[in-house]
Amino acid sequence: MNPFRKLAALCRKEKLDRDMAEEIRFHLEQRAADHVGDGLSPDEARFAAQRMFGGVEQIKERCREQRGGLWLESVVRDVRHGVRMLTHSPGFTFASVLSLALGIGATTAMFSILDGVILQPLPYPDSDRLITLWTENRRQGSRLTSSYANIADWKNASRTLQDIAVFDPVSLIVSGDEPRRTSGLLASANLSAVLRVQPMIGRTLTEEDITQNAPVAILSHAAWLEHHGGRPDILGRTMSIDGRLIEIVGVWPEGFHFPDKATEFWLPFMPPSVNDGANARGVGALRAISRLVPDGTLAQAQAELATVAAALEREHPANRDLGVRLVPLAEQIVGRDLRDALVLLLAAVGAVLVIACSNVGNLMLARSLGRQREFALRISLGATRARLVAQLLTENVVLCLIAAGLGLLLAFFTVNAVRTLAPPGIPRLDETTVDLRILAFALLVSLASVCFFGLAPALSSTRRDAASMLRNSSRDSSEAPRRRLRNALVVAEFALAVMLLAGAGMLVRSFMNLMAVDPGFRTENLLVAPLRLPASRPAGDTIPLATTLIERIRALPGVSSVALSEEVLLGDRNARLIVAERSGSTDTAPLRVPLAIDAVTSDYFRLMGVPLRGGRIFSDFDGPDAPPVAVVNETLARQLWPAENPIGRRLRLGLGARLPWITVVGVVADQRRQQLDRPPIAQIFFPWAQNPSRGMNLIVRTEAEPTALAPALRAAVRSIDPTVPIEAITTVRKLLDRTVAPRRFHTGILAAFAIIALLLAGVGIFGLMHYSVSRRTREIGVRTALGASAPQILRQILAEGLTLAGAGVTIGLGGAVAMSRAFSALLYEVSPIDPVSLIAATLALIAIAALASFLPARRASRIDPMIALRAE
């Protein structure tokens, strides 16, 4: 039958049904007339005709099955019936749709994010073969940049790595109408070959560019579009970058960026030409990347280079304690902490999906029992099992589709929220969108669980004799195993929920500990403006510019003090070799100290609120021509002079014999300037006037809300020198917040999941107890009639709920400890068996279980025995 006729049959369904009834009635009349002819009374004749014909409704149903378009018709009917069933029990529908939507939405969103950030391959061919190479300080286990000479030796010795390219991300100033600071990359000529990328137009960097330090650059595709309007005649045009006229010789293809999206130019990297003794080796400033040969493995390459590094260590004193560490590029980009956090969130979201599915499973199980009567009735009216299965399937699909629709909305909302709320540090998050394949997966999982729990019991009921089912609707022998399954589901929900809650509790407590950490300086009312003197201006302009700036800004209303610093918060710091003078010792063996160097004006310490522990801070006399002086922090003082007063001691930064001796004039308290959760790093401060640098941060302490002052500050800088670019003016508070943002982010998400899990577990146990009480109305009525008091009944039902919850919580606590051990890297000063979190999670779940069981328990205690006994 063609589809058109099917559709027509569907539309004429009612008429066809009427016709069929009439046809059969006609048949019966004829048969009855026959019997009357044989001598029966009309009544007897009709009865005999009926008996011969058989079950009219069953035959009608079989006829309907033969008719064309039936499947379509029954789908429509089942959908309609399904929707009706769902609207008939709004509580059930609401609970299951909500559970499923939360599960589907959260899973889809988290998987999409994870997929975008971690799992999607990088935009380089065979990116999983790309390896970054780092110098490793074996004593500290820290990962450091490398020196050119070491990289060159690695390159010569390695067989497992194809070629090693060198790169160095730098900050550049592009001059023009509006000078701006941007990111560039100094790259060796072979970098594009290692990454296997060809320019979209123009050429890549060549060995001649490198040896001649040619003024050429390759432009990123995004920068070509944004700053040059995507003009095709870009090649050969020049730009003023860092005061040099640079010719654009190529543009990268769309989608390619290295090492990150912000990188606008590739410029030729200039290898150090002179081998200046100790500084050529050891820790350098360079990064290296390579590609494994086709049959090479990471372990082989690592072992091979370790041998080379050991030989270099014996040969060169500057390489002491230094090894080599190979890290796959993908891992390097994502980073371990973030990976851990995302995996934790994924586990959490998986747990939420499982809880949601068990919830719906439980509701389905409960409801299928209540519907056995309906199915028995329909079987006796001629429905086949296949028809019932089809109908149940349709109902479940309708339920899941509604949930999936809501879940999809939720996923879109979540991914967008995460993209806007997430800290800026997460790589590739901006490329993440909701992945519909994952939505399909989550939908399938929930559909499977719904069908399993919803269909199986209904099917088992159709297997039994319909008549006996109709008689004994409530005395069901299969009750016990099903009850055990439902209890097990609730126990599992509670176990998972307590894991999530305890985990979230530990993260929240870590976060609170972190926020309570004293950074060692006053963070409020501090405005920061990063400035940079363009490379086109002579370095000598720095001090006059800085002096004018400070004077002008100090005079602004609302400003209480102004200082300069090279950096406000510090990134990772490489180790430096320091030679320190000690009293009564001629030992000049250098110490290797991870060190942060900062040049500040004398007001810096007072402005930041860093207390002086000994000696003095800088004064106006520590000018360019005065003897070099320094202030150290307590950590550095302890490392260099553990048993002496550091004031008046001298030190040198490096091994060179011509390096000047620097006298320590003061010791200040430690600051946590890297990140709140990292211990203070050794710091040395030089007077700004003795170490002026082009890049500087103007730090302003304001009397009131600091950001209000930003426009005035900007105007002041403009009026002094319009060629000086000002980047985003921000506050110290915001900079610090940014360092804790990833933690705030995953803590918040996990807490949200934990609360969802708590609510779902509550809904789950409420559903179970509610159902259990309504199934046992009669039993409870009997017991009340036999003298059980209302409080006794109440206590008993409450106890049942709490026993289940207690069992789940006990199991879950073990899981929580195991989980928090696995993720202990994410905790800050919180033990993986943190009693506060574990107890709080337990109490929260027991409380919600008590609350959720209380309502059904109260209903049970109010059952009137007379009504209950009469009920069935």
Binding site: M1, E23, F26, H27, G54, Q58, I59, C63, R67
Partner: protein, 109 residues
């Protein structure tokens, strides 16, 4: 009434087609005609007849029409379509072949 045997499996369609090849009948008429043609030896279950009629109509072998009977009642008359006639020929043929084979088997010693 004489003893009535059930139908051999799968033969109902063929018999109905055969009856209808002689003219138009309603469902009741088909049962009567079958009993008459088989000299009351065959009895058609209504529970099988009507689903079979619907099935064959759906396959396009039969067409139906509501008309007045001679006594002025409304009844649904079935008749063969061209496809139905072809089907009848095909079934006849395979039936003949089948009975032949069965007879051969039964008669062989």
């Amino acid at each position: 009434m004489a003893q009535k045997s059930g139908l051999v499996q799968g033969t109902l369609d063929m018999l109905v087609l055969r009856v209808l090849s002689r003219g138009e009948f309603h469902g009741w008429g088909i049962t009567e005609k079958l009993e008459q043609l088989s000299k009351n030896a065959l009895r058609v279950e209504e529970g099988s007849l009507y689903p079979a009629l619907y099935r064959m109509e759906d396959k396009g072998w039969l067409k139906s029409e509501w008309r007045q009977t001679e006594k002025g009642q409304r009844a649904k008359y079935y008749s063969l379509t061209r496809a139905g006639r072809k089907q009848l020929e095909a079934e006849k043929e395979s039936w003949a072949r089948m009975t032949g084979i069965i007879a051969q088997v039964m008669e062989s010693a």
